[in-house]
């Protein structure tokens, strides 16, 4: 093979390989939406719908009792008080319940905060429906303001038999800096 032919062959191959490299870099980023879509469809990872569902009536299954646990947490640097009025509630699938959460801004400044919900076991997330939640939008607190915020939810009677307990966890994040920038 002549040098020139070899050079041509090399540059052709290198171009192809570089395209793979660029493609794979893009694929890394593509994993982000793929992951979100995948979690949305399957409800994996406890990712729950960030929008309210319309209140529909279900047939209440009085024979079944599910324990719903509530966990509230703050990131270390979030200067808030955050708790739920109850830690645990026994519920019947199909029946609507309202639980109040309380959050207070401990600083002397306005605060914009966002609560992020998570449900475990993750696969139960799609059966846990909220018609009202403070986590759907950012919450604004003026200095030292405390708010009582309701969450209204229903457990879909379709929930598979093996689930006896569902844990709903909220973490409040202080988003003031990000939003005002």
């Amino acid at each position: 093979m002549t040098d020139e032919a070899l050079e041509q062959k090399n540059s052709k191959l290198v171009t192809k390989l570089l395209l793979i490299v660029i493609g794979m870099f893009g694929f890394g980023y593509a994993l982000v939406p793929i992951y979100d879509v995948f979690c949305d469809i399957t409800g994996l990872n406890g990712k729950v719908a960030s929008e309210a569902v319309a209140e529909t009536s279900y047939e209440v299954d009085e024979s079944r009792e599910i324990t719903v646990e509530f966990i509230t947490s703050l990131n270390k640097k979030t200067p808030m008080i955050f708790r739920s009025e109850t830690n645990k509630l026994k519920v019947h699938p199909g029946k609507y319940y309202t639980v109040n959460f309380f959050a207070e801004n401990k600083t002397a400044n306005n605060m914009i905060a966002q609560a992020i919900p998570s449900i475990s076991p993750g696969a139960a997330a799609e059966f846990f429906k909220k018609t009202e939640c403070f986590c759907f939008t950012e919450q604004t607190f003026s200095a030292h303001e405390g708010k009582t915020m309701p969450v209204r939810f229903v457990v879909d009677p379709e929930l598979p038999e093996r689930y006896k307990t569902i844990t709903l966890a909220y973490t409040f994040f202080d988003n003031t800096k990000v939003v005002t920038n």
Partner: protein, 535 residues
């Protein structure tokens, strides 16, 4: 390295340039191979020093020597330096030296890019090392760089990210070069299925590299923008998810561990037949097994994250897919054993290391199978059991085979024989101490000792002390390796080595048809490939 005129390249042959510029500007595959190997050896000692600091701190419970933050930096940097600075470059060094000689090519296909990829590696590692002196210390979140913890790194974060970018570009360029060399530079008659297995394993490794290094580069770029530009890829507050990082990381991370083990298999498949004086058993099965392992490496990543809360279907899928890998790997172990079976074996240092590799790598593989069982993994996750497992697959596998390759090829490269007595001493010290070092870590892990902690409960004290003693012996015996290598390069035992160095090695590969020491330029006219039954 003097230029010996041979029948192959008696026209326009010139030796290397003189002085330091030779090494800065060289485009010769042998020079670049040497640079990679010397650099890898240096980093082996840097990473090893960090390991010694870790084991010294863990010698007794309680805090003795270092601050916890620095300890965590040490575990992180030890891993990054060993993976990206020692093991990968050492194999690239072998690839540079041996692939052209094994396939009858005069040099690598893209010699100038070859030079650039080496110096980018140096730049990348220097940037990484510089983070040790920055405010907030070096990255201390483990080599996996999980957010949100990694985002608490001080000034070092952007430097660590840029360092990963450079290391990634360097290995991608190296990989492209290797693929181009193998596809376009083979001597006439050297068909793909005649290539030595070392070349095959590297071809597949190179494809793994160009497929996953860009993904890792993307993942750390997301970390960077999350840290400094208010994106929320992994930040729950902005709608992101830290678990997503784990998925992206391990999509890279699992093939990455095979990037370190496939060339290891290649070196073993090269050495074992020579000292068993038999052709490699099941050559095509070996090629197929390598391809199968590489393919499976892309679809098993979540077995690193069984405990993040996957649904049962996911756990099951990743469990079964992971266990599948045992089949092609088992084929390999079987073939190496069958190669040795009834062979006229001799036990020179490279062979000793290879036999130890087959035995100890199998052990590491078995613990891997245990961890593949997702219900059991809940006990093993993030404990010393994991540490024991991957060190068994990296130290007595990758490191042993790098050293075996060095013993095996050094006489060819330098024309000097290494000191066999010292080589065997180095082997026995390493093989015994590596087990004192890592075997007790299985017990520690099963008993519940978490990884990446500077202090531990007193019930773990005894095995930790034994493990640390093993570490000091192992670390110390590597100085012997350094001494042997330097002595061999200088004058060796004074014994003149023949062209084929090892008995009948000519039957096993083209490189042994060249004179020892190898001239600066080889195969400027392609060699004739004599049909052999397999090498």
């Amino acid at each position: 390295m003097s230029a010996v005129v041979t029948e192959h390249d008696d026209h326009h042959d010139h030796g290397p340039e003189k002085g330091i510029l030779r090494w800065l500007f060289t485009t010769n595959h042998k020079d670049i191979g040497t640079l990679y190997l010397v650099f890898a050896l240096a980093m082996f000692f840097v990473g090893g020093t960090m390991a010694m600091i870790i084991r010294a701190e863990l010698f007794q419970p309680g805090m003795q020597l270092v601050e916890p933050q620095f300890f965590n930096s040490m575990t992180t940097m030890h891993a990054l330096v060993m993976v990206f600075g020692a093991v990968m470059p050492a194999f690239v060094g072998f690839a540079n030296w041996m692939i052209p000689m094994m396939i009858g090519a005069p040099d690598m296909a893209l010699p100038r890019m070859n030079n650039m990829s080496f110096w980018l590696l140096v730049a990348g590692v220097l940037i990484l090392a510089s983070t040790l002196f920055m405010e907030g210390g070096a990255p201390a979140s483990g080599w996996t760089l999980y957010p949100p913890l990694v985002l608490q790194t001080g000034n070092a974060l952007p430097f660590a990210v840029f360092s990963v970018h450079l290391l990634g570009i360097s290995s991608i360029m190296g990989a492209i070069n290797i693929i181009a060399t193998i596809f376009n530079m083979r001597a006439p008659g050297m068909t793909l299925m005649k290539m030595p297995l070392f070349v095959w394993t590297w071809l597949i490794t190179a494809f793994l590299l160009i497929a996953v290094m860009p993904v890792f580069a993307g993942a750390v770029t997301m970390l960077l923008t999350d840290g400094f530009f208010d994106t929320s890829f992994f930040d729950a507050a902005g709608g992101g998810d830290p678990v997503l990082y784990q998925h992206i990381f391990w999509f890279f991370g699992h093939p990455e561990v095979y990037i370190m083990i496939l060339p290891t298999f290649g070196v073993a498949s090269t050495i074992i037949p020579v000292f068993a004086r038999k052709p490699l058993f099941g050559y095509s099965a070996m090629v197929v097994a390598t391809v199968a392992i590489a393919f499976l490496s892309f679809i098993v990543w979540s077995h690193h994250m069984f405990t993040v809360g996957m649904p049962k279907a996911g756990e099951l899928y990743f469990m079964y897919a992971t266990m599948l890998i045992a089949i092609p790997t088992g084929v390999k172990i079987f073939n190496w054993t069958a190669t040795m079976w009834k062979g006229a074996m001799t036990f020179e240092t490279p062979m000793l290391f290879s036999i130890a590799f087959v035995v100890l790598f199998t052990l590491g593989g078995f613990t891997g199978l245990m961890m593949a069982l997702s219900p059991l993994d809940y006990q093993y996750h993030d404990t010393y059991f994991i540490v024991a497992h991957f060190h068994y697959t990296l130290v007595p596998a990758s490191i042993f085979m790098i050293q075996a390759g060095a013993y095996y090829w050094l006489p060819k490269w330098t024309g000097h024989m290494y000191d066999e007595r010292l080589g065997r001493l180095h082997f026995w010290l390493s093989a015994i101490s590596v087990n004192i070092l890592f075997f007790p870590q299985h017990f520690l892990g099963l008993a519940g000792m978490p990884r990446r902690i500077p202090d531990y409960a007193v019930q773990f004290a005894d095995w930790n002390m034994i493990s640390s003693i093993g570490a000091f012996i192992y670390g110390g015996s590597q100085l012997l390796f350094l001494y042997i290598v330097i002595k061999t390069i200088k004058q060796g035992t004074g014994e003149k080595v023949s062209d084929e160095v090892w008995e009948d090695a000519k039957k096993h590969g083209l490189e042994w048809t060249l004179p020892s020491p190898v001239p600066y330029h080889t195969f400027t006219t392609p060699p004739k490939i004599i049909p052999t039954e397999h090498i």
